[in-house]
């Protein structure tokens, strides 16, 4: 019985000796493979993702640089025009000058111009209420009324009251002109920028056909160096 048990153990030990070495090596190999796959693959994927992101950003930056280089000359005049259309500060003096000047052109007599600023909480746009009283011939008065919507800074006609006197007409018009503070920051340097769309170019083109002020309070002079966070705050 004892002999049989000793013989069985020896037999098991011999089998184990033959298999143990290769099995341990295989186990180590599997462990190493798991580590390599886990860390190595992760590292490669990580650097690959960074590369893909960097390439996307490079394309975006190339396009941005191209847009800025192409528009370098045109943006200067267009930004001035757009800043005249909706100035940064109250254009009371400019609007007063414009309505008087248009009155002279239309051959009507502007008898009174009064201006009141109204703040609107829900919009960046600030309103400037302008009341104009004038007298003149009916046809010329109508021409003048038509021209009141076609000057810069942009304005809209709210109300008109016209009545005929003996030989002429007298009228009171209420207009609203607009102004808004300039943007205070630029988008991050890596963010994409869109060139002016056809619709925007068309709108700017229409501004050019509007009656321009003979003088302007707007002076937009970008310069350097400025922090990107508050570029428009002069």
């Amino acid at each position: 019985m004892n002999l049989s048990e000793t013989s069985g153990r020896s037999f098991l030990g011999a089998n184990l000796k033959v298999v143990a070495g290769p099995v341990v090596f295989l186990a180590v190999l599997i462990g190493l493979t798991l580590i390599v796959v886990n860390t190595g693959f992760k590292q490669i994927m990580d650097v690959r993702k960074k590369l893909a992101d960097a390439r996307v950003q490079e394309t975006s930056l190339t396009s941005k640089l191209d847009t800025l280089q192409k528009g370098q000359s045109s943006f200067e005049s267009l930004s001035d025009l757009s800043a005249v259309a909706i100035p940064e500060k109250s254009p009371a003096a400019v609007v007063t000058s414009q309505v008087k000047s248009l009155g002279v052109s239309a051959k009507v007599v502007v008898t009174d111009v009064s201006v009141t600023t109204q703040a609107i909480a829900e919009s960046a746009l600030q309103n400037l209420e302008v009341k104009v009283a004038f007298e003149g011939d009916l046809i010329k008065a109508l021409d003048y009324l038509s021209s009141l919507n076609l000057f810069l800074p942009l304005s809209i006609i709210d109300e008109i009251a016209l009545s005929r006197e003996t030989d002429s007409v007298s009228a009171e018009v209420q207009l609203t002109a607009f102004f808004a503070p300039f943007p205070t920051s630029l988008p991050p340097i890596t963010s994409a920028i869109q060139d002016l769309t056809d619709e925007e170019k068309k709108l700017l083109g229409s501004f050019a056909s509007y009656s321009q002020p003979t003088f302007s309070q707007v002076e937009f002079v970008p310069g350097e160096p400025y922090e990107r966070t508050d570029l428009f705050n002069f």
Binding site: V18, R48, F75, S82, D158, A180, P183
Partner: protein, 175 residues
């Protein structure tokens, strides 16, 4: 000369175990070779990607420097876009300019015998008073107002006659 094994045969490992051990050894060797190969490929790929990333980053930095040099131009573009967005907001508001054009075209269509006494434009409603000396001109004027096509609704709010001033009519015209 053949080897002589004097050990008892029941102490030697089984043939199947020896065979399995050989297979495991072969698999392990193959695994090591594959591991080393894939490690080499992985390190190679990592180095290639890292190098490409370095190059792209350098080009990106150069582009950023060039864009920064054009910061004034970028400011102008941002300003234009901002002003245009606000201008769209202005144009979306109701304005009496269309009503002025409509009244102008109405008056130009009248005969000389019709004169404008007064008009008032508020929002999309125009109230206008006309005067004329004779009934034929009155009929023509009323037909012109009704068929102008500029208004959604035309209301004749009053009509009166005095021998001295003739006919006087008040209209409410709604866009």
């Amino acid at each position: 000369m053949a080897g002589i094994n004097l050990l008892p045969t029941d102490l030697a490992p089984r043939a199947s175990v020896v065979k399995a051990s050989g297979v495991i050894r072969k698999l392990t060797t193959l695994g090591v070779i594959l591991l080393l190969l894939s490690l080499g490929v992985s390190i190679g790929l990592f180095l290639i990607f890292s190098n490409q990333l370095k190059e792209v980053t350098a080009r990106k930095e150069q582009l950023e420097a060039n864009i920064k040099a054009l910061q004034a131009t970028e400011q102008r573009l941002v300003l234009i876009k901002d002003r245009l967005a606000l201008a769209q907001e202005v144009f979306a508001r109701p304005s009496g300019s269309d009503e002025v054009a409509a009244v102008k075209s109405l008056i130009s269509a009248f005969s000389e015998e019709v004169s404008v006494k007064q008009f008032e434009i508020k929002s999309e409603v125009t109230t206008v008073s006309f005067e004329t000396q004779n009934s034929l001109a009155l009929t023509q004027m009323m037909a012109t107002v009704a068929s102008s096509g500029n208004y959604k609704q035309v209301n004749l709010t009053s009509i009166s006659f005095t021998p001295l001033l003739g006919f006087s009519t008040d209209f409410e015209l709604i866009k």
